[in-house]
């Protein structure tokens, strides 16, 4: 269980790090005034009254950026073990990684040329 005992420290750290903001917020809760009134709890719109429903036009471009990010994130995740084992493998590992990166570069170039990376 050596690897699990490595994470003992992380576990203790997580517990303390979760408690700390609660303590800070609790301290603030004790010390601060509590006087809610309707004007204060209004939604902020640069000092004006809010017009109509709060709804926002969600542009599809946000979603495309997130999608491209997921693809490249997974690519990077595949490359982590390769990078760690790099000195123990022969020259073919270089070619294989080149192939891997080349295929994904083709994807990036395709997305670029089709305007998926352009903010409209």
């Amino acid at each position: 269980m050596t690897l699990l005992s490595d994470y003992n420290f992380i576990g203790v750290f997580v517990v303390v790090a979760v408690i700390f903001p609660f303590v800070a917020l609790g301290l603030a809760w004790l010390l601060r005034p509590k006087k809610p009134n309707p004007v204060k709890t209004d939604t902020y719109e640069c000092g004006l009254q809010t017009f109509g429903d709060t709804w926002v036009q969600f542009r599809a471009q946000y979603y495309i950026y997130a999608l491209v990010f997921v693809v490249f994130d997974i690519e990077a995740v595949f490359l982590f073990p390769w990078a760690v084992a790099y000195d123990k493998v022969g020259l073919w590992a270089l070619a294989e990684a080149f192939l891997f990166l080349a295929i994904l570069t083709v994807g990036l170039v395709y997305a670029w040329r089709k305007g998926a990376l352009r903010w409209q």
Binding site: M1, T2, L3, L4, D6, Y7, G11, D53, T54, W55, V56, F58, A60, Y62, Y63, I64, A66, L67, V68, F69, V70, V71, D73, I74, E75, V77, F78, F80, P81, W82, A83, V84, A85, Y86, K88, V89, W92, A93, E96, A97, L99, F100, I103, L104, V106, G107, Y110, A111, K114, G115, A116, Q120
Partner: protein
């Protein structure tokens, strides 16, 4: 009741609690957040299995990227911030029946199969071994390259579907 068992119970509770939260809560956004909680529980399970690379990857990819994607997808498909931001599940009875049948099947499989277990220890340089396995010609190099093609296909498909007309 030794320490790994306690950790297992906590991690599973988080994962299962998150899953239960996903299907019971009314607010769609909170359902997405419960899903993220479930992912975090799975991270704990990976750590317990001494698969630390997978634990970190789960955190990085699922909590960091896919949950954002899910939340964005929710927002794309709904009128934001309207009071009717509720999960719609009118077919819950059918879903319950399917879930019970699936659970029964899984239980039967789990109890009947002779799962092969190895008493071997996880090697200390597991990540290096994994890296070597990913690129060595008689192990997983084909899977490695096919994975990149799969990612390319996903990217191209997404760009085509989402393109402005």
């Amino acid at each position: 009741m030794n320490f790994p068992q306690v950790v297992f119970i906590i991690a599973s509770a988080i994962a299962l609690g998150g899953a239960v939260g996903v299907v019971t809560t009314r607010n769609l956004f909170r359902a997405a957040l419960f899903l993220v909680l479930s992912f975090v529980g799975v991270v704990g399970l990976f750590v317990l299995l001494e698969a630390e690379l997978l634990a970190m990857i789960q955190l990085l990819v699922y909590v960091g990227a896919i949950s954002i994607l899910i939340i964005f997808a929710i927002m794309l498909s709904q009128r934001l911030m309207s009071s009717e931001f509720r999960a719609q599940n009118e077919q819950w009875l059918m879903a319950l029946v399917t879930a019970v049948i699936l659970f029964g099947l899984l239980l039967v499989v789990l109890l009947r199969v002779n799962w092969p277990t190895s008493p071997a220890e996880v090697p200390s340089d597991a990540i290096s071994l994994l890296g070597q396995a990913l690129v060595s010609p008689d192990q997983f190099v084909l899977v490695f390259e096919v994975a990149s093609v799969l990612l390319l296909v996903a990217l191209v498909g997404a760009v085509i579907i989402a393109r402005e007309r």
